[in-house]
Every structure is written in structure tokens, then in C-alpha cells.
Amino acid sequence: MTVTLDGVTKTVAGETHLYGMSLSLVPNGLNVLLGPTTAGKTSILRLLAGLDRPTAGRVLVEGADRTTAGVRDRDVAMVYQQFINYPAFSVYDNIAAPLRRARLPGPEIDRRVRDTAALLHIDHLLDRLPGQLSGGQQQRTALARALVKRARLLLLDEPLVNLDYKLREELRTELRHIFQTGGATVVYATTEPQEALLLGGQAIVVDAGRVLQIGEMVDVYRNPASVRVGEVFSDPPINLIAGRIAGGEVQFGGEMRAGRPVHFAGLADGAYRFGVRAHHVDLAPAGPGAVSLSGTVELSEISGAETFVHVRHNGLNLVSHEEGVHSFRLGEPVTVYVDPDRLYAFDAADRLAASPHGPAGAAPVLAKTAGAGPA
């Protein structure tokens, strides 16, 4: 199903949530709305669902103007952050509810309910009440109820945010596979870059009521069009360092200097903001050109199987992302290394001037072998 927002503005009580936003969803594909908490993701989902009407602009479905159509008149299903189920209905009846409302024949309902329950691994829980289930099982039930309708537009508003991280890990992978097989146009809102990357599909990066960038997921990740996209699409946050390019040299962070890297060849001399993602700030030199910086540990955080080390040096804060679990003491001196070949350059207007990954769509410039893979 093709869905398009055309210049949609949404103002509530004098406060603008969306500013003349235009975007097209990938038909029958996965669209991930990525943005921080108040970016306007939920506003977009509500407009797509027909729960709200835009203040200005149009919502086009299959090319027809459906701006004023109510939620009942749209073929849409929605899953929320909270686990929303009918508390007095069994899991079976919860999943069957939308089909019964659509007055489908009994055997058809039964077959679909059981298929969907099996897909989400809750087929052994069909007789239970939602109150007897764990959080993960409750959200699976809510997902099943959304999927069983086979609505042609499926909207998910941070569906995993209230789950423990082990459950989140499992469901993410499952959802990715479910979305790949489905015939629905899926819109999935999330604040987490990792989740967006794992799901893949079309990335729609939103912030403060505007679309910042649209494109293929990994492409957008590797080539953020602006500083803000880089910030929204990085966890831990992307390191931003002021500096300049002068002749054959780049300088950044005050005292770090290196030869001008190849991908900066086309850039004019002058001041830039350089960005480097945390996993390219290393505790050991990753290449011969790496520049070192000595600092002290502000904090080390462990996330999954990775360690984020916040390093401070003369008012400059850098985050380094290390694989594996490591402990650091606060204030411990460390040396970090930044490889100039990994730097993004942003111009005075904060737009991407050069990316270590080359232009969008191209294969990564670097073909260095690292980690487990042999040459």
C-alpha cells in the first residue's frame, strides 16, 4: 500500500508538532522512524492511523486523498509502548477480537489466531489471561492482535521500549523476520539507533517535527547528511571535534594533527567540525595514521557486550566504544586513538562535507580487515 504525507503540519494548542512534513513510505516494506523522544514520531503515526487530522497538508493512500478518513475507515493496525490487551479476555480472545469485529467465519478466525500465535511463540498460552503473562508475552499478544488483522498498514510506536533487554533482543530479531515476510507497509518508531539498524529498511530520521534525512538504513547511518542526523543516529553519541583543514594537514581538538586523509581531498581549506563515531575512538592504535590523545576516564558504561568509555581531555569529551566488558576507574589516565581516515567533516552549516564511507550508495572506501574476519 502506498502512503504519502504531503506537506503535513500539526499544531496542537499553539504548539507545532510537525512542520510541513512530506514523506513517502516504501510500499509493503519496512519504514523506521528514528528520532529522539519529542521528535514527532507519535504525531506522525497518529496521522497515518487516522486518529488525528493534520492542521494543514494531505495524507494520500494509494494516491487518493484520505486526510479526513477516520481510523475505522483505514486498513490499519497499531501497537503501542504500553502492553494494551483486553484484561478480561484470554489470549485467544484478545487475538480473535479484531477478526470477530470484522465478522469473519469461525473456522477462518480459529485458523488465523492459531497461526499468528504460533508465529509469535504464544500458542501455548492461548487460554491465559493477560494478567497472568510476563511483559514480553503481553506485548507478543498485542503484536499478534495487530498482525492477525493483516492490515495493509501496520504502525508500531516503540513497541519494545518497556521490555527487559533480553526480551527486546529476542523480539527484535523475530520482528525483523516477520516484517520481511509480510505484505503490509510497516512503520516502526524508535529512539534507538541499534534497533533501527537491526530492523533495516528505509530510515526516516526525524527531529523537532521535521524530516532530516530519508534513505536506506545503513546508508543513512554511514553518511549522515548533517551533524544532527549523526547525533540522532549514534549511540553512544558521535564525537564532535572542532578543527580545520590547512593544506596537507588536518588539526582537531586543539593539539591533534595528521596528514589530510584521502577522503578529504576535495575539501577546501578552512574550519570544519569533525565527527567520529565512538567505535572508531580506540584504546589501541587501529592504523598507522592514528592520532593519540591522553585523557582521563569520566565514566565507563557497559552495554550488552560492549564498554563505552567517556574520556575527558582539556574540556574535550570523547566517547570510546570498546568491544567486550572492561572496567575502568574514574579518573584513570588513558590514551585514545583517532584514525583520521574515519573522520566525518561537517561544514559551517553543519552539513556533511565528506564521509569516510564515500558518497551514498557506494561501497565503503575502507576495505581494511579487522576483528575475526581473515583476509
Binding site: 496542537v12 487516522g50 486518529l51 488525528d52 487530522r53 477516520g70 481510523v71
Partner: protein, 290 residues
């Protein structure tokens, strides 16, 4: 958030409008109608403007009754609210005693108002009443039909007996809603029992206490049946409260005009005082926010 409009919803609340119209608006308009007219019988009505209001407002009997009424409500609140909080604090929090205590406490609330009056009328009598007779045996001459002070004591005591349980139940529910972590924190901080009450329980009870004060004020300000049964407003005019005066005018003397004007003034006083209470208490809450 502006939702999609659906005008069908208005039809669904139409029955409520009709019901409210018949139960409240139409009778009230009838009273307003009476308050501005005079009649000499035979269906002849004369418009008198604000004449009734002026005469009622100047009426000594109304002033006296209003004074008595305020005193009564003040006394009742001053006794019932602290007493209710105190009882709620001493109630058990778990075990089989809980339902038992709550049922015993709720019993007075279930007794019809006129029965409450009758019970206390008998209870306080000197000749056959348990209370009056016992006091007489102790050498205290207690006679609520003769002594205005004794009449007041009886009426206030009766109201305390009847309505303190409501305050208790409200406070009890408020106390139960305080998460156990707060008590645990207070213990860890070495807080005394009083400090725990002052800094945890009382602040958390503010909401229910607001409701309790409003309910008890309105009820006590409009009290009629119980004192009417016990003392009939006497001795003399000692317990002649506003609603008893009003009934006297309207039913016994059939002075419909002044009674209607009186009703409206009465209604406005209740409204005014409730509004004052409410804004005062919410102001305190607002001031806290700054």
C-alpha cells in the same frame, strides 16, 4: 489534542440532560419564581422584585440561625477531622481485625437520619435513656430539653457519632495508599512517630482531608433531621438551625416568598463557603509548587 468530532455522542447524553432538568433546574427555577412574587391566594401573583430578599436579609432570626449554624459546623469539623485522623491511624493495617473494625465503624453511616435522631433522643433522656440516666446517677444533672448547653452537647455528640466514621474511612483509605517505602525510609532516617505523621502521613492525606472537610461542612451546614427529631430546635431557639427555620417558614407558616428567598440565600452561602474552602486548599497546593 483535538480528536475527530463525532456528533452522535451528544444524543447519548440527552437523557442525562432531561433528568438533570427535572431534578434540579426546574425546581430551582420554581424557587426563584416564588422568591420574586407575592400572592394573596386565588392564583393571583404580584411581582415584588427584591423585596423578599431585603426583608429576609434584615431578619434577626436569620442572623441568629446563621450564627448558630456556623458555630455548629465549626465545632463539628474541629472535633471530627482530628478525631477521624486519630482513629484511622490507630486502626490495624492487616489481619482479620481490619474488616471487623471497618464494619463496626461504618454502622452509624447506615442508620437512617431520623432513626439517628430517635436513638439519641432516647439515649440522652434523663428518665429512661442510658446516657442521661447514668449521668444523673453520677450526680450530673443533664437535661437537654431545658438547658441550651446540654442540648448543644447532645446534638454535637450525635453528629460526631454519626459522621466521624466517614472521616475515618476516608483517612484510612488515604493512609493505605502510602507506599511502604515511605515508612521504611522514615524508620531508616530515625524519624519519631510524630515526625512520621507530620512529614509523611499528613502531607499524603491532604487530598482526602480536603474531601472530608468539604463533605462534612456541607452536610453539617444543611443538617435538619437529627436535631429536629431530638430537640425540635429548642430549648427556645437554642438549636434552631437554618434548615429548621426555613422549614418553619415554608411549611408551617406557608410564607412561600420569604422562604424561597431564604432558600436561595442559603444555597448561595453554602456555595460561597465551599468555593472558599476549595480555593484556599488548592492555593496551598499551588504555593507548594513554587
Amino acid at each position: 489534542m483535538n480528536k475527530v468530532q463525532n456528533n452522535r455522542a451528544w444524543f447519548l447524553i440527552l437523557p442525562v440532560f432531561v433528568l438533570v432538568a427535572f431534578s434540579a433546574i426546574i425546581p430551582l427555577m420554581a424557587v426563584v419564581n416564588y422568591s420574586v412574587q407575592d400572592s394573596f391566594g386565588g392564583g393571583v401573583w404580584i411581582f415584588v422584585g427584591t423585596e423578599w430578599f431585603e426583608s429576609v436579609l434584615a431578619d434577626e432570626r436569620l442572623h441568629d440561625a446563621l450564627g448558630r449554624q456556623l458555630l455548629f459546623s465549626g465545632l463539628v469539623l474541629a472535633i471530627q477531622i482530628p478525631l477521624g485522623v486519630m482513629i484511622a491511624l490507630t486502626l490495624p493495617t492487616r489481619g482479620w481485625l481490619v474488616p471487623l473494625c471497618l464494619i463496626v465503624l461504618a454502622l452509624p453511616l447506615l442508620v437512617p437520619f431520623n432513626v439517628v435522631g430517635t436513638i439519641w433522643q432516647l439515649f440522652a433522656r434523663v428518665d429512661i435513656g442510658l446516657l442521661g440516666h447514668t449521668l444523673a446517677d453520677l450526680g450530673i444533672e443533664f437535661n437537654y430539653t431545658d438547658d441550651p448547653l446540654h442540648a448543644w452537647i447532645t446534638v454535637v455528640l450525635m453528629d460526631v457519632w454519626h459522621w466521624t466514621p466517614l472521616v475515618v474511612l476516608l483517612c484510612y483509605s488515604g493512609l493505605r495508599a502510602i507506599p511502604p517505602a515511605f515508612y521504611q525510609a522514615a524508620r531508616i532516617d530515625g524519624a519519631s512517630r510524630y515526625a512520621t505523621f507530620r512529614y509523611i502521613e499528613l502531607p499524603k492525606l491532604r487530598g482526602v482531608l480536603t474531601i472530608a472537610v468539604l463533605l462534612r461542612f456541607m452536610d453539617s451546614f444543611m443538617i435538619f433531621t437529627e436535631p429536629f427529631v431530638v430537640t425540635g430546635g429548642g430549648p427556645g431557639n437554642a438549636t434552631n438551625f437554618l434548615s429548621i427555620v426555613l422549614t418553619n417558614w415554608a411549611i408551617e407558616r406557608r410564607d412561600l416568598g420569604p422562604a424561597a428567598a431564604f432558600s436561595i440565600i442559603y444555597f448561595l452561602i453554602v456555595l460561597l463557603i465551599c468555593w472558599m474552602f476549595y480555593t484556599a486548599i488548592t492555593r496551598i497546593g499551588q504555593a507548594d509548587k513554587r
